[in-house]
């Protein structure tokens, strides 16, 4: 099977600054047709042509799944990241032609749930924008708890409050408002499913508390995209294709492999879906594993790496690619 998903040729139909950190981008199909339908929680991978470099970053679709005239994503500017969000903020203008993937959902609603309890932190609000729209249209039962740093950085907090009123509860860090998590998790009706999307610390906290309070693992859903982290450059030998490549500080291993003309499969580019799992043939050095796919044992074995988010420091690395 070919790599990734089917591509969509789109044009940027609008760019809307939302607050100091977040900008929203609207895409329409270049041929004027409707975009593919999607489900709440889905993401698309946006291709960014930044000079010589191509970046492929996943972003949650945040519009209503009922409206496929356009896709919308919200991008939080990360001044110390690898540059994808800066490219979106600085270089993407209305009218620009871009390519995005078909939607992929790795953070799906469990439609059996009697109630959907959603916990968002910061920009982790975006998948819930689509999920709440989907559930509201079907008369679904949901409740959203949203933590943000300040009221002015509470992206879409106003929109959500207006749409769903008391079904949305806001917590501001600067006012030292905190979710009373244990109370919240202990007082839910049977059949409730829990969804969490936000910083890794928040996801881990919620999952730990939920497990301690007896929530079955299959009722706890989380979106755990790790953005690829920058790091020291390193060299890799690709044994199958017979190529030697260098991974730059700001590049992911997967991007460097692709830049050399080799196309491993991928879907999420965030260490979650498992598609780009790659065998290590030999190595002399240490791995920096950032994925949520391989087991701890596999991380320790040094025999596998997820090139979308993980890196390497050392003398030599040979991969089965």
């Amino acid at each position: 099977m070919s790599t990734g998903t089917t591509k969509l040729d789109v044009v940027v139909s609008d760019v809307v600054p939302v607050n100091d950190l977040v900008t929203r981008f609207h895409f329409r199909r270049r041929d004027g047709q409707l975009l593919p339908t999607f489900s709440g929680g889905a993401h698309v991978v946006v291709e960014m042509r930044d000079g010589e470099r191509t970046r492929l970053n996943p972003y949650s679709l945040m519009g209503s799944p009922l409206d496929t005239r356009e896709y919308t994503i919200s991008v939080r500017r990360d001044d110390v990241g690898r540059g994808g969000s800066l490219f979106m903020h600085r270089s993407v203008k209305p009218g620009m032609e871009m390519v995005v993937s078909y939607p992929v959902n790795l953070f799906s609603l469990d439609l059996r749930a009697k109630k959907h309890l959603m916990l968002a932190g910061g920009i982790g609000i975006t998948p819930f924008m689509a999920q709440t729209a989907q559930l509201a249209a079907e008369g679904g039962n949901f409740e959203l708890h949203y933590t943000c740093r300040t009221a002015s950085l509470g992206t879409y907090a106003d929109v959500l409050r207006e749409r769903y009123d008391r079904r949305v509860r806001l917590y501001h860090d600067d006012l030292e408002e905190r979710i009373e998590l244990d109370r919240l998790l202990s007082t839910q009706p049977l059949g409730t499913h829990l969804y969490v999307c936000g910083p890794a610390g928040m996801i881990n906290w919620v999952r730990d508390r939920a497990a301690s309070l007896g929530w079955p693992a299959e009722t706890v859903h989380f979106e755990h995209f790790a953005a690829p982290q920058p790091g020291l450059p390193f060299d890799v030998r690709l044994a199958v294709s017979g190529k030697s490549i260098r991974v730059d500080e700001q590049q992911s291993l997967l991007e460097a492999i692709e830049a050399a003309g080799v196309d491993p499969p991928y879907l999420c580019r965030g260490g979650v879906c498992g598609q780009c799992e790659t065998n290590v043939i030999s190595c002399d050095g240490k791995f920096i594993h950032n994925d949520h796919w391989l087991s701890e044992e596999e991380h320790r074995s040094g025999k596998k790496i997820m090139p979308c988010v993980s890196r390497f420091e050392g003398r030599s690395l040979v991969l089965e690619r």
Binding site: T5, T37, F38, S39
Partner: protein, 346 residues
């Protein structure tokens, strides 16, 4: 030019047969002179004109008769069609998929007009012209899955995806090779495949599940599966075993050509957009031995495949009782000469 739909039966007097054009388009499942399980999955893309892959959802000369047979099965046993409460959205996804594909492939027979969520569906072969509100179950005579699968050839399983597994949570199953939706409903991928011999040891289901849970929207996949059936009976269900099981004892050297049918399933896998479920259409094609052996390559190859099939597989597929008679009959059509590569007739 449209399809000429045959008047025929899949029960009682068994008048089902294939026209010469349909014999040539039969999806013969063996690309070499032997058969063993493999994860034989490939992208479900449009194939050559005149093949069953000409359209991604195939409608053929048996359409009307198959839909009549389905209605008879459902009248006797409504549990052949089930949808757990959380699967209604997936049913709408399937309705959209099948209406779009049938209208696209066969505009002379099917027309879909969409005006927002107001849809009009015209099915000329079955004399249906309905206007309804997409998403509003009260505007259709059945639930969305049942409505559209009463008008679409093949069985349909809708699988919910959660917890890294697939769950058989809805389906319309009336043309099955000896399995029961009513038994499997609510089971996960490993549970409903538990009875299959040999494949677990080969790790096939683990790999297949990994593949299926990653099926992407806009990128359906397919595989062929096969078994054999005595008489052209679509409904070989466990519920009706008493009706068709004894048929296996009726095969004699004189009636092999008429009674024994190769039964091929074209299975495809599609991601559903709103529900994030997977639909798994299982389209059944039947061909009697007399029809199949009009293609000499198929006759030679089928002889070698059936003769050399491992006993476990022959048993699982229910061939054991009549295999000797079938092999004997086919052997007379196998002169030992080589067969050309690939599925198609020479």
């Amino acid at each position: 030019m449209g399809i000429t739909f045959r008047k025929e039966t899949f029960r009682d007097d068994f008048t089902f047969k294939n026209s010469p054009e349909h014999i040539r388009r039969f999806p013969f499942p063996f690309h070499e002179d032997a058969y063993m399980y493999a994860v034989n999955i490939e992208p479900h893309v449009v194939g050559p004109r005149g093949s069953v892959l000409e359209n991604l959802i195939d409608v053929d000369e048996h359409y009307v008769a198959e839909m009549q047979d389905r209605a008879l099965v459902l009248a006797e046993d409504p549990l052949r069609c089930q949808s757990l409460p959380h699967m209604t959205l997936a049913g709408w996804d399937l309705l959209e998929l099948l209406m779009e594909q049938q209208a696209l492939g066969y505009p002379e027979h099917f027309t879909l007009t969409r005006d927002g969520d107001r849809w009009r569906w015209i099915n000329r072969p079955l004399g249906i012209d309905d206007t309804f509100t997409f998403g509003d179950t009260s505007t259709l005579p059945y639930g969305p899955m049942e409505y559209i699968t009463r008008q679409s050839q093949g069985d349909f399983c809708i699988l919910d995806q959660r917890d890294g597994n697939l769950w058989m949570d809805a389906g319309m199953v009336t043309t099955q090779a000896d399995w029961s939706l009513d038994f499997d409903i609510g089971m996960n991928f490993f549970e409903w495949h538990a009875p299959v011999p040999l494949a677990h040891e080969k790790g096939i289901f683990v790999r297949a599940l990994k593949f299926l849970t990653n099926i992407q929207q806009g990128k359906p996949a397919r595989r062929l599966n096969w078994t054999m059936t005595i008489n052209p009976r679509l409904d070989t269900s466990p519920e009706n075993y008493h009706k068709w099981g004894p048929d296996r004892a009726t095969v004699t050297p004189d009636n092999v050509g008429d009674k024994v049918h190769l039964r091929v399933e074209l299975q495809s896998f599609w991601r559903l957009p709103r529900s994030n479920g997977i639909v798994f259409p299982i389209r059944c094609y039947l061909i009697k031995m007399d029809e199949l052996v009009t293609q000499p390559k198929w006759a030679r190859r089928l002889h070698r495949v059936i003769r050399d099939l491992p006993d476990e597989l022959a048993n699982y597929k229910g061939l054991t009782r009549y295999r000797p008679a079938l092999v004997e009959w086919l052997s007379k059509l196998d002169d030992g000469s080589p067969t050309s590569p690939g599925f198609g007739p020479d």
